[in-house]
């Protein structure tokens, strides 16, 4: 297992801390353009995810890639997470993984 470049759990607010670095996020799909997806992050902000989204995407998609600005991600890996997803729990994970428990993740 390649642990050399871990992806940090982010929501929109945390994304800006990792610009240029590898991140992962769960996005609720709002608009699908084929080449990119406009989605809502787990803290209710709009993000743009570029790449090759799955066809068809489910309501929630997890993306792993490089953050190229504080509002967009260049995604390499896309995973359909289905239509039922507890957004608040994921948001809490993002906060804990970057806060008190950062040493467990990065």
């Amino acid at each position: 297992m390649d642990t050399s470049n871990p992806a940090a759990f982010v929501n929109a607010e945390l994304l800006r801390m990792y610009v240029g670095r590898r991140v992962r996020a769960v996005i609720q799909v709002l608009r699908n353009d084929g080449g990119s997806i406009f989605g809502k992050s787990t803290d209710e902000q709009e993000l743009v995810v570029k790449g090759h989204p799955p066809n068809p995407p489910t309501t929630f998609v997890e993306v792993i890639g490089i953050a190229d600005s504080n509002r967009s991600i260049q995604a390499e890996i896309w995973t359909n997470f289905g239509d039922n997803f507890d957004v608040s729990s994921y948001n809490t994970i993002c906060q804990l993984a970057n806060g008190d428990f950062k040493h467990l993740f990065i």
Binding site: S89, T92, D100
Partner: protein, 624 residues
């Protein structure tokens, strides 16, 4: 000329080691004991009936002995003396330089009767500077207001005190022991303690009949606490004797290990006093009622304490007082008065506090009368229950203070008068989960080790918990099915002839259904346990009905039967279990039964975990 030993004589000597001849000496008459010659001098023990000191007659006085004036067991008046320290031993040495013979040998060694009431000072005869003795007096002087009556040893054995040993031996048992040193294996102790808590007299009924019991909380000078319980005759004897805040000397109690479930004070042991125990009030100690210290929990933070052992203190504004209700106690059919009061605090939450017995009657009535003034009431040592989510209940040790003079009360009053009385206050409810099924799975969530480590859970009535656990093993070769009546699901027996007989329905049935009754091993992060599972739950866990499983076992072959069981293994579930303890051959056996089983809802489970983590973090922050 007085012909008796001077009381406090030895103490007077000890207090004045080097009298100069110009000062007035009190009359010092001592009895000469153990008189023996050493070289050309005589050594003896000078006794005043209570204390003894090693003594030497100066050589000039030796002739008094040889002539027979000074005799062993006789009395002498000490006119001039010096008191020295023996450097190697912690002892004093009296050198008598001038004395008069007062009386020839007495019949026996004179022993003063020591009035037991309040004289708990160490009477170790030889050690004047006894550092261990914990007494109020600065030195070794006996307290001046204690009368030592000159009675012979025989008169000391007094009906009032039963078989109390005469003074010389009493000096051993009268030594005050620290509470921390008491243990069940050493019976010869006396403790000096203050009553810091007194419970009500309770009556009970058990197989042996009726009885009454009460207990007190005792604290000694070191701060060690112990609970003492008295039953029946002893209870009646000592109930009025023990007063809050007063100090007593207690001896002849018995000690045993506490039942951790009911522990109220920090002590591995608890004491029982019976009719032979001795309780003497120490009149020299002032009654001291320590100011009640409160440590308030805001109403909205009561959740974690629900059904726990820890008692809480609360302070709130009285919203309402119910009329007195009568509750019938199931165990002995006694009716108990009860009152419910509702209090509110700045967290904008309200909670119900149940008052019982005297508290319900007198205090409750008091509150009712002033309810319209919305008084602030502070309550200490309440039990937290889960009635309607969160509820509080008073105990016999609970303390209630109305409109207390403390800053929290003032703050509360201010809040209430300015905004509280107008805002809408919500009753504190159970855990945040909304779904009915999920709620019961999240209340009383414990780890498996919590259940297995406590063998007395569920002793009187079953205790209920929720657990999240993985099925770790289902033994394939256990009897997991039983033939059941199609109507009432009770076990049926094969009837004579054909068919089955149901005891419950009292009739014969042609067919029967198969139902599960199996023992399943479950594990969680803390440990593992065996749980009994009945039909409906087992159904959900195995994934097929009992008769179907039976089919597979009979016709599908052992392998597919075991496979079916294996597939159920390592699946996590939420269980609602009941825990009971039964005695089998004098051994306590814990029995855990699944009452309900539900699949894990990951979203709710995550929320629960986050809550748990926050609680841990909060309590860590509070501690640090």
């Amino acid at each position: 000329m007085a012909k008796t030993v001077s009381p406090h004589a030895v103490s007077a000597i000890l207090a004045n080691p080097c009298p100069d001849s110009s000062s007035e000496l009190p009359e010092i008459i001592v009895q000469v004991l153990d008189l023996k010659a050493t070289g050309n001098k005589y050594m003896f023990m000078a006794s005043d009936g209570k204390r003894k000191v090693r003594a030497l007659l100066q050589s000039a006085l030796a002739s008094e002995v040889t002539s027979g004036n000074i005799q062993n067991l006789g009395l002498i008046r000490v006119l001039d003396y010096t008191l020295n320290d023996i450097p190697t031993k912690n002892e004093k040495f009296l050198i008598v330089s001038k004395c008069d013979a007062v009386s020839p040998a007495l019949e026996a060694e004179y022993k003063a009767e020591v009035k037991v009431e309040g004289s708990g000072i160490d009477l170790k005869p030889n050690q004047a500077m006894d550092v261990d003795v914990k007494t109020e007096s600065a030195g070794i002087v006996l307290k001046p207001n204690q009368e030592v009556m000159a009675k012979s040893a025989a008169q000391i054995v007094n009906d009032q005190h039963g078989n109390m040993a005469p003074a010389a031996r009493m000096s051993m048992t009268r030594r005050v022991h620290p509470l921390a040193s008491l243990n069940p294996y050493q019976g010869n102790w006396t403790i000096k303690v203050r009553v810091t808590g007194k419970g009500n007299m309770r009556t009970y009924r058990n197989a042996r009949g009726e009885g009454c019991v009460f207990n007190v909380e005792l604290t000694d000078e070191d701060g060690t606490q112990i609970q003492a319980t008295m039953f029946n005759d002893a209870a009646k004897k000592f109930f009025d004797k023990f007063q809050m805040g007063k100090v007593y000397f207690i001896s002849k109690g018995t000690l045993k290990l506490t039942n951790k479930q009911f522990k109220t004070v920090e002590n591995d042991y608890e004491m029982t006093l019976n009719e032979n125990s001795e309780v003497e009030e120490d009149n020299n100690e002032a009654t001291f009622l320590p100011e009640t210290k409160f440590s308030f929990t805001p109403i909205d933070e009561l959740g974690p304490y629900v059904n726990g052992r820890e008692l809480v203190d609360v302070i709130g504004v009285v919203q309402s007082v119910s009329p007195t209700m009568s509750i019938r106690r199931k165990s002995n059919n006694e009716t108990i008065p009860k009152r419910d009061i509702v209090i509110a605090d700045e967290t904008k939450k309200t909670v119900v506090v149940s008052l019982w017995n005297d508290l319900a009657m007198s205090f409750g009535q008091e509150l009712l009368d002033m309810a319209d003034k919305s008084p602030v009431v502070a309550m200490k040592s309440l039990k937290v229950g889960e009635f309607q989510g969160v509820s509080l209940s008073a105990l016999s040790k609970s303390i209630m203070v109305v409109d207390p003079d403390m800053p929290e009360a003032k703050k509360l009053r201010f809040w209430y008068d300015s905004e509280g009385k107008d805002t809408s206050l919500a009753a504190i409810g159970p855990s945040p989960s909304n779904r009915n099924g999920a709620r019961s799975m999240y209340s009383d969530r414990v780890s498996l080790s919590h259940i297995t480590s406590n063998p007395s859970l569920g002793e009187d009535k079953p205790a209920y918990f929720s657990i999240k656990a993985y099925i770790s093993a289902i033994k394939p070769d256990q009897a997991m099915l039983y033939r059941a009546c199609k109507t009432c699901s009770k076990k049926v027996t094969e009837a004579v002839g054909s068919g089955y007989w149901c005891e419950g329905c009292q009739k014969n049935e042609d067919g029967c259904s198969l139902r599960y009754i199996m023992a399943v091993k479950v594990s969680d992060a803390s440990g593992e346990a065996f749980i009994s599972v009945f039909n409906d739950q087992a159904d959900k866990m195995i994934g097929c009905m009992a008769d179907k499983l039976n089919e597979i076992k009979l016709h599908g072959g052992e392998a597919s039967y075991q496979k079916k069981l294996k597939e159920a293994t390592w699946v996590p579930h939420l269980f609602r279990v009941s825990v009971t303890t039964n005695e089998y051959n004098n051994e306590k056996r814990q029995r855990i039964t699944a009452r309900a089983v539900a699949p894990i809802d990951y979203a709710t489970e995550s929320k629960y975990l986050v809550e748990d983590m926050t609680k841990i973090k909060l309590s860590k922050n509070l501690l640090s």
